[in-house]
């Protein structure tokens, strides 16, 4: 499967040239072809770097939504061992838009919970494109409590456009489910490490993302609402999403400046979708390092620091 974003076309063309060259070389190796290959490889690397260095906020939104961008279950496989998925909220249903269960990170047992957008039409539909229903959040809450009970550090991966918003979600108390999770995370007695891996959209993301340390992949986004919804609220026109994306300051670089996130995890050149293994390794290193420092902090101190961290957020004059 190949999914090429508009602004990635120069990269795709060079890739195609490289593939053709390699085929030629395989059939008839010639020194001048080898030399040309070297030039193309260098060109490709440079182009990738240049394109991805200056992504606009709207381009970042597209990268964050990329069909081939790794999701929670990809990282669960690549970074963790013995990930054991648990299902259901014990009240209503299992929601595939949120996945979770115990796993080992570098040998240490942690609780892993994250959004899962799904791959391909059928899987994506069954996961409601990563927009969880209330039962998804209640499953997550069950796993949070289990993490607390057994003293497993909690690792959450955010990747949702927003919480699901249909009549059924209202009937099952979406707002109440989100509020309970946000409040529960504020007082959960285990270290919490959250990484925004794709789209961190609205309360639907925050309900898995109240953390001691909030990290973000380089091309992920974090926003009060999906840009389309924000454009609709702000200017009554969802087609102005690119403009909203810029105004909302939703890129990792912006959010460091706003002191909303603690750290950016660099992605391989060309983004996580171009090199899944490279992205997983970068994420693994960051998780191991951050978890080490969180576990060195006494729990009561961590809790009061967590409270203080959110208490400080806001800009006002008295």
């Amino acid at each position: 499967m190949s999914v090429v974003l508009d602004f990635e076309r120069p990269i795709a063309e060079l890739q195609k040239r490289l593939e053709a060259l390699e085929k030629q070389i395989a059939a008839h190796p010639k020194p001048e072809l080898e030399a040309e290959r070297g030039v193309v490889v260098a060109d490709l690397e440079r182009t990738r770097r240049d394109v991805y260095r200056d992504l606009s906020p709207w381009q970042k939104v597209q990268v964050a939504r990329h069909a081939l961008r790794p999701q929670t279950l990809d990282y669960a496989k690549a970074i963790f061992t013995e990930f054991t998925e648990f299902h259901g909220d014990r009240a209503y249903a299992d929601d595939g838009a949120i996945v979770g269960g115990p796993a080992r990170l570098n040998g240490r047992v942690v609780m892993l919970v994250g959004h899962q957008r799904g791959k391909g039409t059928k899987d994506s539909v069954s996961r409601n494109f990563g927009q969880p229903h209330p039962e998804g959040y209640r499953k997550a809450l069950r796993l949070f409590r289990q993490a607390e009970k057994f003293g497993m550090p909690l690792v959450t991966l955010l990747d949702t456009p927003a919480a699901s918003a249909g009549l059924a979600d209202e009937e099952r108390g979406q707002a109440w489910a989100l509020a309970e999770n946000i409040a529960a995370m504020a007082e959960l007695q285990v270290p919490i490490l959250t990484v925004i891996i794709g789209q961190g959209g609205s309360g639907g993301a925050l309900a898995l993302g109240v953390a001691d340390r909030l990290l973000m992949l380089e091309h992920a986004i974090f926003s009060v609402a999906p840009p389309e919804a924000a454009a609709n609220i702000l200017w009554k026109d969802s087609k102005l999403a690119p403009e909203a994306a810029a105004a909302l300051r939703l890129t990792a670089q912006d959010l460091v400046d706003l002191e909303v996130i603690d750290r950016i995890i660099p992605e391989p050149p060309g983004g996580a979708h171009a090199d899944q293994a490279g992205a997983a390794e970068a994420l693994r290193e960051a998780l191991v390092e951050e978890l080490g420092s969180l576990e060195a902090t006494p729990m009561d101190r961590l809790l009061s620091q967590r409270y203080a961290k959110y208490r400080r957020i806001g800009t006002f004059y008295e």
Binding site: G166, A179, E180, A186
Partner: protein, 314 residues
């Protein structure tokens, strides 16, 4: 006579929030069913329409008069004003700075939230409310900070907290800073809860999105006003997004009562008595009488009562 008739044309005169005054002090038109009511009747029923039962929005003064003992409310941090964390000023669109100025001019308010100390039937409380007439009651830095301070004041002085919400949700112009006010306020509510101080959340028309999904949903008792639109996305957005045609009852206070999200729907004329009654019940509990906070989240046997004392042989 001529001027009376001219002024009596509906919609011709100045409009007050929550009803159209025609003329200034004689008639009020219900914003929902368009029924005309004598202004004096309208005010004395706390803006509840006698025909359709609609609970029109109340200003802060009206809400305070409805709920708190006369003269007992003392507002805190009244002058707090919003910053502009994103420096939100996209080309060719209204900037946040200008929007704030516009809302201030239109509403005469400095922000969408007030809080302070006040008494209900003699019981000292911390009272806070959100006001739709400033920026649609949306939560940004100031609303988040005031709600957090209200929670902490209630916690520190061990006064029950009452918050009357009315809000469209998080304020987009503050982006992720507005989103994170959900975490800040929800954490503050839990901080109050750990001190075992009761919190009564009153949801008024409308209470939606990031406000419902944070502090407003987390009351020890959640009350909604009759007919209020209360929920997450709200009927208009759901219809837009899904194309579903919703029944008129969707996301009303009564709908949320039926689905188990609110404890009760209370008529405005009963609100003060119900809140006072709840406060008396909560305040007459062992936790409050002993003012014993939750020391931590663990179910721990007290140290002086070991579960299994070591058996010493001999």
């Amino acid at each position: 006579m001529r001027s009376f008739f001219r002024r009596a044309v509906p919609g011709d005169s100045g409009s007050a929030p929550g009803g159209t005054a025609i003329p200034d002090d004689m008639w009020v038109r219900c914003p929902r069913c368009r029924e005309l009511t004598y202004a004096r009747e309208w005010e004395s029923s706390f803006k509840v329409c006698a025909k359709c039962g609609y609970n029109a929005p109340l200003s802060a003064q009206e809400r305070i008069a409805l709920l708190l003992d006369e003269g007992s409310f003392h507002e805190l941090d009244a002058g707090m004003r919003s910053g502009d964390p994103l420096r939100f000023a996209p080309a060719g669109r209204p900037s946040y700075h200008d929007k704030l100025a516009q809302w201030t001019a239109d509403s005469g308010l400095s922000e969408a939230c007030i809080y302070g100390r006040g008494r209900v039937d003699g019981i000292p409380t911390v009272f806070s409310m959100l006001d739709m007439s400033f920026f649609a009651g949306t939560m940004g830095s100031v609303v988040g900070e005031k709600i957090a301070r209200a929670c902490e004041l209630a916690r520190d002085e061990r006064r029950p907290l009452i918050i009357c919400s009315a809000s469209g949700g998080a304020r987009q112009q503050e982006g992720s800073i507005a989103l994170l006010q959900m975490a800040k306020t929800a954490a503050a509510v839990r901080s109050l809860g750990r001190a075992r101080v009761p919190y009564i959340s009153v949801l008024t028309d409308p209470t939606l999105a990031g406000v419902t999904a944070s502090f407003a949903a987390l009351g020890d008792c959640v009350i909604a006003e009759p007919g209020a639109v209360v929920g997450f996305a709200g009927p208009r957005l759901i219809e837009q997004a899904t194309g579903e045609k919703l029944p008129p009852s969707a996301d009303t206070a009564e709908f949320q009562l039926e689905h188990g999200m609110v404890d009760m729907v209370v008529l405005r004329r009963d609100l003060r008595a119900v809140v006072a009654g709840l406060l008396r019940l909560f305040l007459d509990t062992a936790a409050i009488r002993s003012s014993r906070p939750l020391s931590d989240g663990l179910l721990q046997v007290p140290e002086d009562e070991p579960v299994s004392a070591p058996v010493v042989a001999g």
